[in-house]
């Protein structure tokens, strides 16, 4: 099994580690690869789209021709796990012309919805499908503002959706890769592949 971690910018190494831990917990032999060029995503079973700066990431995904590969990946029904800036990039609409989104997740997203870095926070978060709260780290985090009809909301903060799922795509406004808790990597990347 091969998992791509989109690696053009952001906390890529942290995601690679979390993917490997989640895979090991299931006894999967997984090769997790940081991807900075076109041509790798089509050979991968699942993709993680990390946090970072959404303006920079979206610009590089298009400049480096990785964007159409990610769209094709989701159209083929394969798992995509998008966190923070990744969620913004995956969305239908980032409500900001500086980010050219992939439109693979039917939500509109407000960037920096909780404020600047001084407003960034961590909190225990109840997430649908998990037995115990998740240690969620929000960094200049976005929030989901408008949810399409096929999108399931998995968690909210102050009434705003911060975790969503639509088909093979899971999007989070926070950073599971910054903690040792890989349950959400497991759910997003490996649950859908369990039938294979």
């Amino acid at each position: 099994m091969r998992v791509a971690v989109v690696g053009v910018q952001g906390d890529v190494a942290e995601h690679v580690t979390a993917v490997e831990r989640a895979a090991a917990s299931r006894g999967h032999a997984v090769e997790a690869t940081a991807v900075r060029n076109a041509g790798v995503v089509p050979d991968c079973d699942a993709v993680a789209l990390p946090g970072g700066e959404s303006t920079t990431i979206s610009r590089l995904l298009h400049r480096r021709d990785i964007a159409p590969e990610l769209v094709a990946h989701v159209e083929a029904g394969k798992p995509l796990f998008a966190t923070c800036a990744g969620l913004i990039v995956a969305a239908r609409d980032a409500r900001d012309s500086r980010v050219e989104t992939l439109d693979v997740l039917d939500v509109a997203v407000d960037r920096n919805a909780f404020g600047r870095q001084r407003d960034s926070f961590e909190s225990r978060l109840d997430v649908a499908g998990l037995d115990d709260p998740f240690p969620a780290v929000f960094i200049r985090a976005p929030a989901v503002a408008d949810v399409g009809p096929d999108v399931e909301v998995l968690a909210t903060v102050d009434g705003q959706p911060v975790a969503v799922r639509e088909g093979p795509v899971v999007g989070l406004a926070f950073h599971p890769e910054l903690t040792d808790d890989f349950r959400l990597h497991d759910v997003a990347l490996f649950d859908p592949l369990a039938g294979d």
Binding site: G10, D96, R118, S120, E122, S123, I139, L154, D158
Partner: protein
């Protein structure tokens, strides 16, 4: 759906939140800007963040005199202009400049040797701030002292404003080399190393066990071309600060775009050749070797 979380049980300004912010900058280029127009350009050409300061280091060198934090009105203008993080520089040991920058809403504070130090013995106690800090270091012991004071990111000092990458390479090699040394030591040898280098023991052990700094490690100081940026990535940096190198270049947009691309293509010589060819000519610069000791910025705040 799960029970909603409310905003009351949130923890702000924790180490995880501060270091996490720095982690999001990895693989990115942070550009020095003096005006909001430059900030606009920096965001458009792919900077992950902008660093507000009063004058770029090359101009601070030429101008001489006391270099201080940027004008608050200008910082506010830069914050308003961009959606990416805006950082600002304070003088070493100048707690009040740092508090002002934090109150203005900057996303990270650079306690920087490029400005004139306000305290010749102590750095700011950064642990008490909600805003994360980045600090410069010439070697591992300096880096660990700054992390112990609360820095969430380390950058090489290099020799800012020269356009000469020599000292940034020197500092990065110092840091990486010392980590390799520590990794091969046993407990008591690491304790001895910590004492001899005036480095905090717990961080010496943590670094040795991780085989890297516990916070992200950027390159800064004298990076003037795409090839310079690629060289620092080759030396194991997590990202790049460019000071005078972008807006001191012949065509800042072309140079900035090329440096952003070079950070992605640092290990691909064919792509790098194309990137370097599209950059235009760099800032003129001045060799480190010709700088008299009193003009070197890197010896400030060790």
């Amino acid at each position: 759906m799960a029970e909603p979380t409310d905003l009351e049980n949130l923890r702000r300004g924790t180490d995880l939140v501060k270091r996490g912010f720095a982690r999001m900058q990895q693989g990115g280029v942070i550009m020095d800007v003096v005006t909001r127009e430059q900030a606009r350009i920096a965001e458009d050409i792919g900077a992950v963040a902008v660093m507000a300061l009063e004058a770029v280091p090359a101009d601070i060198r030429k101008r001489g005199g006391v270099a201080r934090m940027p004008d608050p009105a200008n910082v506010e203008g830069i914050i308003d202009e961009v959606s990416i993080p805006a950082m600002g520089k304070s003088r070493i040991g100048h707690r009040k400049e740092a508090e002002i920058l934090e109150a203005l809403g900057v996303d990270m504070i650079d306690e920087s040797e490029v400005l004139t130090p306000a305290d010749d013995r102590y750095h700011i106690d950064k642990r008490e701030f909600t805003a994360p800090f980045v600090c410069g270091a010439r070697n591992l012991q300096e880096a660990l002292r700054r992390i112990d004071e609360g820095a969430a990111m380390i950058r090489t000092k290099g020799e800012a404003g020269t356009g000469d990458v020599n000292q940034a390479v020197h500092h990065q090699r110092n840091i990486k080399g010392a980590i390799r040394q520590l990794t091969g030591m046993n407990h008591e040898e690491r304790e001895k190393w910590a004492r001899e280098h005036e480095a905090p023991g717990h961080l010496v052990h943590e670094t040795a066990e991780m085989g890297r700094l516990p916070v992200v490690n950027f390159a800064a100081g004298g990076i003037a071309t795409p090839a310079d940026a690629a060289l620092m990535m080759y030396h194991g940096c997590d990202g790049i600060f460019v000071g005078s190198g972008v807006f001191g270049a012949e065509d800042p947009e072309r140079m900035g775009t090329a440096i952003v691309d070079a950070v992605n293509d640092w290990d691909n010589p064919e792509a790098l050749a194309q990137v370097a060819g599209a950059a235009g000519s760099g800032m003129s610069g001045e060799s480190n070797a010709s700088l008299p000791e009193e003009e070197q910025l890197q010896d400030r705040g060790v």
